[in-house]
């Protein structure tokens, strides 16, 4: 699978593990949590959000934002939660594997 795409999906799913968020919130949350190291490309974000919504991992509804503007809020479905757990496991496995590779070199 496309590694980059997979990682982006996992990040987004993690961001939505709690309360529903809209796209801008998601970008900010990830930026803040990673202390600015990871800034998601906006266009890619929305492609991912729509894709995951179509797959049934996310539910979406239009609400008024705190400022009164109309915004689209996303939240996880049961299916999405399963994907999140699987994604975490895979990522951990991958990270261990890469660490082993580096360890072998040094």
């Amino acid at each position: 699978m496309n590694f980059l795409q997979g990682t982006l999906d996992v990040l987004i799913l993690t961001a939505l593990a709690g309360a529903p968020l809209h796209g801008y919130d998601i970008v900010e949350w990830i930026r803040t949590t990673t202390h600015g190291s990871v800034v998601i490309d906006d266009g890619a974000l929305y492609m991912a959000l729509h894709r995951m919504e179509r797959r049934g991992w996310l539910d979406a509804e239009w609400r008024n934002s705190p400022k009164g503007r109309r915004a689209k809020y996303y939240r996880l479905t049961a299916e999405g939660r399963k994907e999140l757990r699987a994604g975490e496991k895979n990522w951990t496995k991958f990270a261990d594997a890469v660490a082993k590779v580096f360890a072998a070199r040094s």
């Binding site: 809209h22 801008y24 490309d41 906006d42 266009g43 929305y46 179509r54 239009w62 109309r70 915004a71």
Partner: protein, 881 residues
């Protein structure tokens, strides 16, 4: 449900989402001290090319939406088709049978008529048209006029016996001149092919050689690589195998796959004294030429005709007055890129006719389907109107109808292809007579596939669109306002009626055709033969390796006949040069009573028979006496004639004792007629009884090494072949023979008519069935259209009978119009099939009337059912709706 509003809403959503994101970013930037304009520019920049993402998002969402809509359409189509199972199955079957039958027949027509030969540049090949040619003519062309063409070759079909001893193992083969494979441009599969060096009298440097087919190589030699140099026994003579043909070449004729190819010159070896190589009156070779590149067919023919006199001079007819005409008769060249084929010429026209019939059936099937879909669409009018009112676009509903139509035609086509495979194989098996099996390359190539696909697509479009026209006549408000009854334009009703009329007309034509062909076949199968064939078995004997002199032939024949008579179960046995229905013929001119040269058509058919022949065949001597052993070589020359001969040539003299002169000028002889026998068929049942004379065997000069023994075996035949084998082996171990019952031979002779009868009968029934279904549909529709009207009539006092009669009357009008057109069509089309019929007139009134009556009965019955349903309506319920 997707329509324009949905699309705009989706686009708006995407725009809003992106815009919101940018606005939030702008706010954040302003909070960090940017000016509003700078902030906006920066936010747009950071988002990236928002327009591009908007577009991509839109496309992605749209694609997803379309996929979703298609899936929705698909599920809906399946569901609605399953909701009306009878109609669906009828539609699929109609289409499947129509497409399947068309494809099966077209595959055969394709294999038989259209496929070019698997040779090099087949478009440059041409045959010398006309029947066959003599070897002297071929040798003249080969030796003196070769530069006229890029290559020329001669060949002839022949059956060969490959068994080294005992019972024959007969295969198809070809005598081919040395240039044969060169002209065709064939490369050997193994070893080498024939060359001009092999085509010399007495054999070339390798002696008598033969080339065998792939099939024979695998069948008999197990495909062994060490095949070159092995010996093959051909007609009990040793030939050396020099090569194997490539698998792609099956032969110069479509439908025949010869197993052995012998050089033309070796015909002298095979037939010995009866060799036709130097006979100027033996016409047996086919000539094939390859034109020079750039030489047109006309050029080649002109070139050949330039040498015409020289070529023809080699074989001059005996009568001087015919010589001049003969010398000036033109040669004609015919294109041979698709190969020559006796199968083709035998089956071409009936196949084409049956193909047209099948196309007609397909048309009926399509008309049916259109009607059925229309009926269903109109029945769902109310549902459609509601959906229209709720905002569904016409395109959307149209798409759903198209999905249903596609589903139907796909399923129908798949079933059709299966039927085509199975039916095609069945048909080819039927096409082969039991003597030579037919091999046709039937692989479905692009032409067949193209035709099937075209049929499927056309039918889809045709009846995919048809229901739409039902819809465009409806305004949603109108439909709802009148409680679902809907208004229907007159124009559309007449379209449906026209379809039904076309259906009925075509069905009449098909039913008429079917009954004509069935009656033809029945007539041929039961035609009186003049002899009782059921108990007869024919043994075709070839003297093979046995050494018999010309003078000893009659005694040899008798010896073999007596031996055959001793086999178990044989009641009588008799020999003859020819047997009826063998396809072979022997005819001679009959002299004029005043001795002047007879006109060309004054001919009689001839046979030479041994003692007891008429008795074996169950033929009766009507006057005078039978031939007997006293009619021997030195005795006065006598003949027995049949009734037709008497009627034609002896009408004004008493036949017994009359003297007739038979034969052409130098060899003519006078015979005394000693007996009259009843008429019998000679060459084919179709040609019927012809004038025939019978010589006694002993008095017929020039008896050949092959002849026939006819056995009368009334009872059990199981022990016959083994017993024959033993008896004949004892009589003469060098004999070769093959056994066949008369019923087999007769069956093979009318195979073509049997197939045509089978097929057209089947399609006639199919047409009837389809017409019935069509009428059922249209009547249901008419009934549903006028439910309120019917209910009102019933409420006002009309009884059920009146209602039914009213509906049926409308249907009857359509049926009568259709039947009339059908009858007229039949009478016009009859001219094309006259040649195929036997003892039944193409415009036979009985057949026409019967067809019309049958169709009318079916039609009225099909219409009566929904009519009866209408009469059972409760007027109160309907009016309240």
């Amino acid at each position: 449900m997707e329509n324009k509003t949905t699309k705009t809403r989706q686009t708006k959503n995407i725009d809003d989402e992106v815009q919101f994101h940018i606005d939030e970013a702008v706010d954040t930037l302003i909070g960090q001290g940017w000016t509003r304009e700078a902030a906006r520019a920066e936010a747009e920049r950071r988002f990236g090319n928002s327009a591009r993402y908007r577009r991509r998002l839109t496309v992605m969402t749209r694609a997803a939406a379309i996929r979703e809509a298609l899936r929705f359409d698909w599920r809906n189509a399946v569901r609605s088709l399953r909701a009306a199972p009878v109609v669906t199955i009828a539609a699929i079957l109609s289409l499947g049978l129509g497409v399947g039958a068309n494809t099966a027949l077209f595959s055969i027509v394709n294999g038989l008529l259209l496929k070019p030969l698997p040779v090099h540049e087949p478009d440059r090949l041409a045959t010398l048209a006309g029947d066959d040619w003599t070897n002297p003519i071929w040798e003249r062309i080969r030796d003196q006029h070769a530069p006229l063409f890029a290559g020329a070759t001669a060949w002839a079909n022949e059956s060969f016996d490959l068994a080294p001893a005992g019972a024959s193992e007969v295969v198809d083969g070809i005598f081919a001149s040395g240039s044969f494979f060169d002209v065709l441009g064939i490369q050997p599969g193994l070893g080498r092919l024939l060359t001009t060096g092999d085509d010399v009298r007495g054999g070339g440097s390798d002696g008598p050689v033969v080339v065998i087919s792939q099939a024979l190589w695998r069948r008999r030699f197990g495909g062994t690589p060490a095949i070159v140099g092995r010996t093959l026994s051909v007609n009990r003579l040793p030939f050396t195998i020099v090569g194997v043909l490539p698998p792609s070449f099956f032969g110069p004729e479509v439908g025949r796959a010869p197993d052995v190819y012998l050089p033309l010159a070796s015909e002298a070896l095979i037939r010995g004294k009866e060799s036709r190589l130097d006979q100027r009156s033996s016409w047996w070779l086919s000539l094939l030429v390859r034109r020079h590149p750039g030489q047109t067919l006309d050029d080649a023919a002109a070139a050949l005709n330039g040498a015409r006199a020289d070529i023809r001079a080699v074989t001059m007819p005996s009568r001087p007055e015919a010589q001049q005409q003969y010398l000036t008769e033109n040669f004609r060249l015919a294109d041979a890129s698709t190969g020559t084929s006796a199968l083709r010429s035998r089956f071409a026209s009936p196949l084409i006719i049956v193909t047209i019939i099948v196309a007609g059936v397909l048309l009926i099937a399509c008309a049916n389907l259109a009607n059925l879909m229309l009926a269903r669409a109109t029945a769902r009018r109310q549902e459609m109107s509601v959906r229209l009112a709720l905002g569904a676009s016409r395109a959307r509903i149209g798409r759903q109808m198209l999905a249903e139509a596609l589903l139907l035609s796909m399923t129908g086509s798949v079933i059709g292809l299966l039927i085509a495979q199975w039916g095609g194989a069945l048909l080819v098996r039927q096409l082969g007579s039991s003597v030579s099996s037919v091999t046709l390359n039937l692989s479905t190539d692009w032409r067949v596939l193209g035709l099937t696909a075209a049929i499927a697509i056309v039918t889809t479009i045709f009846f995919g669109l048809a229901p739409l026209s039902a819809l465009t006549g409806i305004e949603p408000n109108q439909a709802l306002g009148q409680s679902g009854r809907g208004v229907v334009g007159d124009r559309r009703v007449s379209v449906r009626n026209a379809l039904v009329i076309v259906q009925i007309a075509l069905s009449v034509v098909l039913v008429v055709a079917a009954s004509l062909f069935v009656r033809t076949f029945h007539g041929l199968a039961t035609a009186p033969l003049g002899f009782s064939a059921d108990e007869l078995v024919i043994v075709n004997v070839d003297a093979g390796r046995s050494t018999v002199s010309q003078d000893g032939m009659p005694e040899f024949y008798q010896r073999v006949t007596d031996a055959a008579a001793s086999a178990p179960g044989v009641r009588m046995a008799a020999s003859s040069v020819l047997t009826p229905l063998s396809g072979q013929g022997w005819n001679d001119p009959v002299g004029m009573p005043d001795g002047s040269p007879p006109p060309r058509d004054r001919m009689t058919f001839v046979n030479a028979v041994g003692p007891g022949w008429f008795a074996a065949y169950g033929m009766r001597i009507l006057a005078g006496r039978d031939l007997n052993r006293l009619d021997a070589k030195g005795a006065p020359p006598v003949v027995v004639v049949n009734e037709m001969f008497v009627r034609r040539f002896l009408s004004d003299t008493p036949p017994i004792g009359a003297r007739v002169t038979i034969g052409s000028a130098p060899r003519a002889q006078t015979f005394e007629v000693v007996g009259v026998v009843n008429d019998a068929v000679y060459r084919s049942a179709r040609r019927g009884m012809v004038p025939t004379i019978y010589h006694p065997l002993e008095q017929a000069g020039g008896l050949g090494r092959s002849f026939s023994v006819t056995l009368n075996v009334p009872g059990d035949r199981r022990a016959l072949t083994a017993g024959l084998h033993e008896a004949l082996r004892q009589a003469d171990p060098g004999l070769a023979f093959s056994v066949r019952s008369y019923s087999d031979r007769i069956g093979a002779a009318i195979a073509q008519e049997r197939i045509v009868a089978m097929l057209s009968g089947f399609f006639g029934l199919l047409a009837l069935m389809l017409a019935g279904i069509g009428l059922y549909g249209v009547t249901s529709y008419a009934v549903s259209r006028r439910t309120r009207e019917v209910a009102m009539r019933m409420a006002l006092g009309a009884d059920a009978g009146n209602v039914v009669r009213l509906i049926l009357r409308n249907v009857a009008v359509i049926v009568v119009i259709g039947a009339t057109i059908g009858v007229a069509l039949s009478m016009w089309a009859s001219q094309f099939v006259k040649a195929l019929l036997f003892e039944v007139e193409a415009r036979d009134p009985l057949t026409l009337v019967a067809a019309v009556v049958t169709l009318t009965t079916v039609a009225l019955f099909a219409a009566w059912m929904p009519a009866r349903r209408a009469a059972k309506l409760d007027p109160n319920i309907v009016l309240r709706q």
